[in-house]
């Protein structure tokens, strides 16, 4: 009987501990710039998904360079990146944890976690992406991107701000 009582008390204590865990994560109202660049990046990755060269050309600058930690001295040109991306079927993608800093009215730095599922791969790959965008008139163009894969074991923080792509 004492053992049962002890078990009941332990179960109760464990529940109480769960109850007393901190406040929930606040529900954020994203900035106007996050809304803009989330839409632009969805458009960009959808253009890759659909092999829509016209949209890709509109969103990616002529002098665009993509840099990765594995080849820091060998950036991919816009053409090389387009060829690479269009050659690998993008099954689904998701963008989360976006932050945008407007450095000037016409320059913004953007960062986010990209989760993509390619070809017949079973799992998805997460990368941390940093981009530089410039604006001419009302049109924003991506001029530079840095993409760093996130190791599956790495914990980049809570999986927040996941916006479904509609393609998941």
């Amino acid at each position: 009987m004492r053992k049962i009582l002890l078990l009941v008390i332990l179960a109760g204590a464990s529940l109480q501990s769960a109850v007393s865990q901190g406040s929930p994560t606040p529900i954020q109202t994203t900035t106007r710039l996050v809304a803009i660049f989330a839409d632009l990046n969805y458009e960009l990755f959808q253009s890759i998904q659909k092999h829509d060269a016209a949209t890709f050309d509109r969103l990616v600058g002529q002098d665009f360079e993509l840099r990765t930690p594995s080849e820091p001295d060998n950036p991919k040109s816009r053409e090389d990146w387009q060829q690479l991306e269009f050659g690998r079927p993008l099954q689904s993608f998701g963008i989360s944890q976006m932050a945008v800093r407007g450095l000037r009215d016409d320059v913004a730095s953007v960062s986010f976690v990209l989760e993509e599922k390619r070809g017949t791969a079973i799992g998805s790959q997460k990368s941390f992406v940093v981009q530089a965008w410039t604006r001419e008139g009302e049109s924003w163009t991506c001029q530079e991107a840095y993409v760093s894969p996130i190791a599956p074991s790495a914990k980049p923080g809570p999986m927040r701000d996941r916006r479904p792509s509609g393609k998941d």
Partner: protein, 312 residues
């Protein structure tokens, strides 16, 4: 001994019920902002009461009756670094939340399309009290320091403890919110247990700190870009608190609450956005306030209850 066991079991059942009330229903994605969500375990299926309007009910309570608003003016709202750190802003936002502002307006009554098993949101909101806080937590606030500001206002008696209310922490433009104000968000809302009660509160910073991120226009209807920028974000947080106060009531499959689904969408305006355009007239002032998601007629963003739905 049997009595002891019985008491133990009662305690366990009580704690289970408490835990069930305070833990969000497990699901794939829960809200964090405009159509964004936080992934959580999905071992418990949420009860979905109403579907078909683009937003679902998840079992938690809504605020019923008139929701009160309390303002905590944090920092320097007399003569801060921006012109909007001023009594003008205090007066404008107080009027917006006064009895002839959002309260019972055709705009705020969009929230009456939301309810829980015991009733619907009233569509009424009134400012019930204000206080000031002169940098008690410094000029760099974490989320927990924002909560401390609210807690201090209540425990000191400067504001009453009210579970049917939203407490706004409104920071002057020299105050940072370190979890991402201006780069990720313009405001947020949440809940916490303060002095043993379920208190709902919100952070909204002076949008003049980052006008390109948190303002739709710098030439604004009331000639006070900070107040006009904050007005839309505060309306957003208020309507989400009314319909999802404990973060377990109304949001869609992507984790977006009602106002998230219409963030930065204003519908048709009088005048153009960028030149002082506005879409609402409340409390004798013109405002540019984002639309809200109406939970009827299939769902959509509109400026007034029963109005035309607009996509931008």
């Amino acid at each position: 001994m049997r009595k002891l066991l019985f008491v133990g079991l009662i305690v366990l059942v009580g704690l289970s019920l408490l835990e069930a009330q305070t833990t969000r229903n497990a699901r794939h994605v829960v809200p964090t902002g405009k159509g964004w969500g936080m992934e959580v375990p999905h071992d418990i299926a949420p009860p979905i009461v109403i579907t078909g309007n683009g937003i679902n009910y998840h079992g938690g309570p809504v605020i019923k009756g008139t929701m009160k608003a309390y303002f905590i003016w944090y920092g320097n709202w007399t003569n801060g670094p921006h012109a909007s750190d001023s009594q003008t802003t205090v007066n404008l936002l107080s009027s917006l939340f006064g009895s002839s502002g959002l309260n019972g307006s055709n705009y705020y009554r969009i929230n009456t399309t939301y309810g829980d098993n015991s009733g619907n949101v009233s569509g009424n909101i009134v400012l019930a009290g204000s206080t000031t806080d002169s940098y008690s937590q410094g000029t760099g606030l974490s989320d927990s320091r924002v909560q401390a500001v609210v807690s201090s206002a209540i425990t000191s008696g400067r504001l009453p403890k009210d579970t049917n209310a939203i407490y706004f922490v409104l920071t002057s433009s020299d105050v940072r919110e370190t979890s991402g104000f201006c780069t990720r968000y313009c405001g947020w809302h949440t809940r916490a247990t303060i002095s043993g009660s379920d208190i709902k509160f919100s952070f909204v910073g002076n949008s003049d700190r980052c006008s390109s991120a948190c303002e739709a226009q710098t030439v604004s209807p009331n000639g006070d870009s900070g107040a006009d920028g904050m007005a839309s974000v505060m309306a957003h947080e208020a309507e989400e608190t009314d319909t999802d106060p404990d973060l377990n009531a109304w949001y869609d499959s992507g984790g977006a609450e009602n106002a998230d689904k219409c963030a930065w969408k204003f519908g048709p305006t009088t005048g153009t956005i960028g030149s002082g355009g506005y879409n609402q007239t409340l409390a004798g002032h013109n405002w540019l306030i984002q639309m809200n998601w109406e939970n009827s007629r299939g769902g959509g963003c509109d400026k007034v209850l029963g109005g035309t739905f607009y996509t931008r």
